[in-house]
Symmetry: C2
Subunit: 336 residues, 2 copies
DNA sequence: CGGCAGCGCTGCAACGTTGTAGATTCGTTC
DNA sequence: GAACGAATCTACAACGTTGCAGCGCTGCCG
């Protein structure tokens, strides 16, 4: 059925190894031979069998990407960026969803479903620092996110603290003093929520604004609904506020919806800023100010680091950490 | 480095074929032997080499999914659904992006990047009916979308005409008579745009409402920005209207934004309905009525059909077409 | 002019797996 | 107790590819 090197070799009147050499751009082949082989390849429509090549080389040209859920815009846009970056390295991407559930994430790490990929880019959500030991796997692994520091794997992440401080400082620059923060996770130390909260507090401290715990609202998940719920709670509690910092864009957009229902004007009554730089923030009403954590750079770095790890035969370099640059994007929701 | 059948066989004191049989749940193995082998597998941490298995079996357990762009919510949610469906069939999914560009779509079909997948689920956007012949490929292929009918491949699609008619009829049921339609593609005959326009016209005819070409607005792309632009045009043209049917949710949301800026109340002044059943429509302000074309069913069917095609050795059944059921989702944007 | 490097190509072995055919044991039946 | 079939296991040959060693030849160097 399928055309093999053997068929091409027969037609071209050479050995299969020569065909293989042509296919692999081996330098020392007479131009006439090369032409003959190429003609035969063309005539038969030969395509290399990747399984056989993988078996021989021990590499597949496939990398895995494990994210919580593609239907969350942030991860869809991240996957988009990772696929583009992988393409530049001639790799294809196999995507798995963990649902952000710790057990599924742990299972994924030793799953045979990903066993034939050359390496994995992993964006955990449910696993915590306690699970760091589980990341000591036998294949190249790059962590993308903020959940686990100091683990045994390379780690590509964003400047959460600095970016959150910049967002908060931006709100302070508008003259706001009662800034609500949405999306905190009680007890968390190293996750995005903790880091962004830290940035928020640093900005307040810097400006000499007292920290008010009533303004910090929990949200386990960071969906639109959670942002809406947090805003309802805040309004119901009667806590005065003149700005909101959503720990992600989706939370902020959920909050915006409730503010509008409640008749609060944005940004006149309440300035709002998000985090993630989602495409969507350009088109909401009002357009949403946000911090772009450098998603394309993150994806590009993650792929590059993974490729490097795959390339290094055994030289066990210690795990490294990479940080991307962020950009503050000012839009209508924080206009003066 | 990696553990092979041979290593396990040596440790367990059996032949590699017996280990293979244990791994593949072959029935006739003495329980004691099975236990010995399983113990050895466990001790060594054996994982089958998928490349070798693929080479031997001619199948990889990987299917391809080619979509325009993951950062478009519709395709992100579609990919999510396809991955879940594939998981139920023990398949993993390799995702490629075409950008919806005809040339890239055509290249994808014969690309060696997807050559080692068992089959492809393909959602074309740029290719047209003229390109149908290009779909006659040598591997299992399932088309997901509406661009190409009567081609040589299986085709899973939605009831575009009926669903669009239902959406329009719903608006008419609210007493609206001047219903704008956003997202038309001039000259198109078989694409989603043409079919949804047809459904729109059928609903008008049924209700005895005259068709007014001024109410039909073109939009090459179906992004938020295009919806916003179309609404600006409509308002500038001074054409009176009391409802909008967006050929997808994103167009409708873009239109909503401009309507709000223009001070038109939704749904009092203008009722709005979209198409696609995006998650996002639950959280917009106002929440957006939409038609869910049965995305999960589409994904499930596409995977099932692909699996069937992969399974059939040679029996070339003629290509078939599958339709999913749609659901009208009524929300605030069309409330009475 | 002997030696050596390089060209252009070939043949063989190996990557790790599973299908096939066959060997051996065991229990059952006549 | 011989014959037979089923259970249990093994040996061998693929699947299609690439690394390695090596073929005969040419050209260059000292």
């Amino acid at each position: 059925m399928a055309v093999t090197l053997y068929d091409v070799a027969t037609l071209a009147g050479v050995s299969i190894k020569t065909v293989s050499n042509v296919v692999n751009d081996y330098a020392h082949i007479r131009p006439t031979t090369r032409a003959k082989v190429l003609a035969a390849i063309d005539e038969l429509g030969y395509k290399p069998n990747i399984s056989a090549r993988s078996l021989r080389l021990g590499r597949t040209g496939v990398i895995g990407l494990a994210v919580p859920e593609l239907s969350l815009s942030y991860f869809a846009e991240l996957a988009d960026a990772v696929i583009r970056a992988a393409e530049r390295h001639n790799l294809v991407v196999l995507i798995e969803q963990t649902g952000g559930i710790r057990e599924r994430e742990i299972a994924m790490l030793s799953s045979s479903r990903l066993h034939f990929t050359d390496g994995l880019i992993f964006s955990p959500l449910g696993m915590g620092s306690d699970d760091a030991a589980l990341l000591d796997v036998s294949y190249p692994l790059v962590l993308l996110g903020e959940r686990i520091f100091g683990g045994p794997a390379d780690h590509v992440t964003m400047r959460n603290v600095e970016a959150a401080r910049a967002a908060t400082t931006h709100l302070i620059g508008l003259g706001r003093r009662r800034i609500a923060a949405f999306g905190a996770h009680a007890g968390e130390v190293l996750g995005s929520a903790a880091l962004r909260l830290q940035g928020y507090r640093e900005a307040l401290d810097e400006a000499g604004i007292p920290f008010d715990p009533d303004l910090v609202r929990e949200a386990g998940q960071w969906h639109r609904l959670d942002g809406a719920r947090a805003m309802h709670d805040l309004l119901d509690a009667g806590v005065p506020f003149d700005a909101v910092f959503g720990f992600n864009d989706t939370l902020a957009l959920g909050a915006v919806r409730v503010l509008q229902e409640a008749g609060r004007s944005i940004p006149a009554d309440v300035a709002v800023i998000g985090f993630d730089g989602l495409d969507e923030t350009k088109y909401s009403l009002p357009t949403l100010s946000t911090v772009d954590p450098g998603r394309d750079e993150l994806a590009e770095t993650a792929v590059r680091v993974l490729v490097e790890r795959i390339a290094e035969r055994d030289g066990q370099l210690p795990p490294r950490e990479y940080l991307s640059d962020f950009t503050l994007v000012e839009r209508e929701s924080t206009a003066l």
